[in-house]
């Protein structure tokens, strides 16, 4: 097993390295920096921002917004998912509304959120919460759709009522789906970061991307993109490590 993992890691890092080298060559020979800056130029720009302290501040602000939005969205999504799963009529009544709202992207809510919540942090939290909620909710519902007839029959044989079955059979079976939804939802949180930071902010990685665009600094734009990617990979690894330990008995497979 360990040999296989290390081979996979080697292949992966080899591919990334090869890609970076090809990019570096293309950036230096074919393209002008304004169109496609080489990785070395992007690193230099990132380093300069790090030394001035601006990059850390951007990353910190973005991370705090993501943490609030992701946590709130996950809790809300899981709560609604469980509510829908436990009470079928609630699900049948409210699901059309959810299905309608999930096609309206966070960027469309930008102006309403600005008007309702102002230009402070709250609006940014709301936007990130919004996109995270749907993913967790939909995944939780998909988990409930999976039937465990044999387990439910077994529980009934032992005299479990419908509440016992929910608590001891259906709920535990849904936990991996909730966590899976949270992992996918984390991607949505990160994707929405830039939208949230279109909402009048002076700092943040999304703001760095938007601002660099106005200043035609392609390097700055890529620093922002790379920063979000690094933050995302770190958050995902942390989430995987934490849930693997906390939810050991569910055999999450990540």
């Amino acid at each position: 097993m360990s040999v296989r993992i290390s081979r996979g890691v080697m292949r992966g890092s080899g591919a990334v390295l090869l890609f970076l080298v090809a990019w570096e060559i293309a950036g230096r020979t074919i393209f002008v920096p304004a169109v496609l800056p080489a990785p070395s130029a992007i690193t230099a720009e990132g380093w300069a921002r790090w030394l001035s302290g601006a990059l850390q501040w951007d990353a910190l602000m973005s991370a705090s917004r993501l943490a609030v939005g992701f946590t709130a969205g996950s809790l809300l999504g899981a709560f609604l998912g469980l509510l829908f799963g436990a009470f079928a009529p609630v699900r049948r009544i409210l699901e059309p509304l959810v299905q309608f709202l999930r096609f309206i992207p966070p960027i469309a809510w930008l102006t309403p959120v600005l008007i309702w919540f102002g230009i402070g942090e709250e609006g940014k939290w709301v936007l990130i919460t919004y996109t995270t909620t749907f993913m967790v909710l939909l995944n939780t519902l998909a988990g409930f759709a999976e039937q465990h007839r044999d387990r439910m029959r077994a529980a009934r044989v032992f005299g479990a009522g419908s509440w016992d079955i929910f608590l001891h059979v259906r709920l535990p079976a849904t936990v991996p789906w909730i966590l899976g939804g949270m992992r996918i939802g984390m991607g949505n949180s990160f994707q929405t970061l830039i939208v949230a930071e279109m909402l009048a902010s002076n700092e943040g990685l999304g703001q760095l991307i938007l601002n660099s665009r106005l200043q035609l600094s392609t390097e700055g734009m890529f620093v922002g993109i790379a920063g979000i990617a690094v933050l995302g990979i770190l958050a995902d690894s942390a989430f995987r490590a934490a849930t693997r330990r906390l939810f050991h008995r569910y055999r999450l497979g990540w």
């Binding site: 081979r7 049948r92 102006t111 008007i115 998909a142 991307i209 993109i225 990979i233």
Partner: protein, 266 residues
Amino acid sequence: MSTAIAKLSGQGFAHHLTWLVLRVLPFVGMILLWDFASRAFDVPVLFPGPLTTWNKAVELIAEGQLQADILISLWRIAIGFVLGSLLGMTLGLMMGLSRPIADTLGPFVHTLRFIGPIAWISAVMMWFGLGETSKVILIVYTTTFVVLISTMIGVLTVHPNKLRAARVFGATGFRLFAHVTLPAALPHVLTGARLAMMNSFMTIIAAEMVAARQGLGFLIFNSRQWMEVDAIFVGMITLGLLGLLADRLMALLTRLLFRRFRPADA
């Protein structure tokens, strides 16, 4: 709880009607709440109520603008969704079947899923110009990953007994793929495509931030600059309804076309 369900899920016409009313109720409630909130907010320009929004919609339809916006947006979404799904399915099958390919492409896929289409807007504009290509590429981008990951999971979770049974009967290579792996993975592909359609719809606004002159995304984003909130609401509601309609249509189509593969009904 179960008795309540039994009572409500009877087959009679009256019961169907009851359910229909119950499902429409949240929408009615939302509209009433919206009306109340907009009156409480007291600045109709910034927060128009349902009636103002409806009048705006009628105005946009009378001008023919809303229909044109819907058509062009749906066209972009359709192309991006189909291309993105095909690309995602191909890559997902490759990554599911071959460990080296999965190892090689994995890091890129797992990195890019954190970066939203809006982050790429200026890059895509520089690389692909201001035309339709850029818009479609952004939609393809967000569609692909969801289908890819879903397809890969589908291929990886094909039950080993199925593969063993087929091998016992002498199936190898392409036949094993076409008759066992692909049909078993198909429900995952379809679920992924249905989820990805949400991304296609959501990305239309980002796509139409790239120098568009028409489309629902343009309507929403352009009205933002003029603070025409009523037009924003019209765009949002239209987008939500179209998405809902497309989702239902796709669920129906998968049920009709792929019944034998038993796609899960979300």
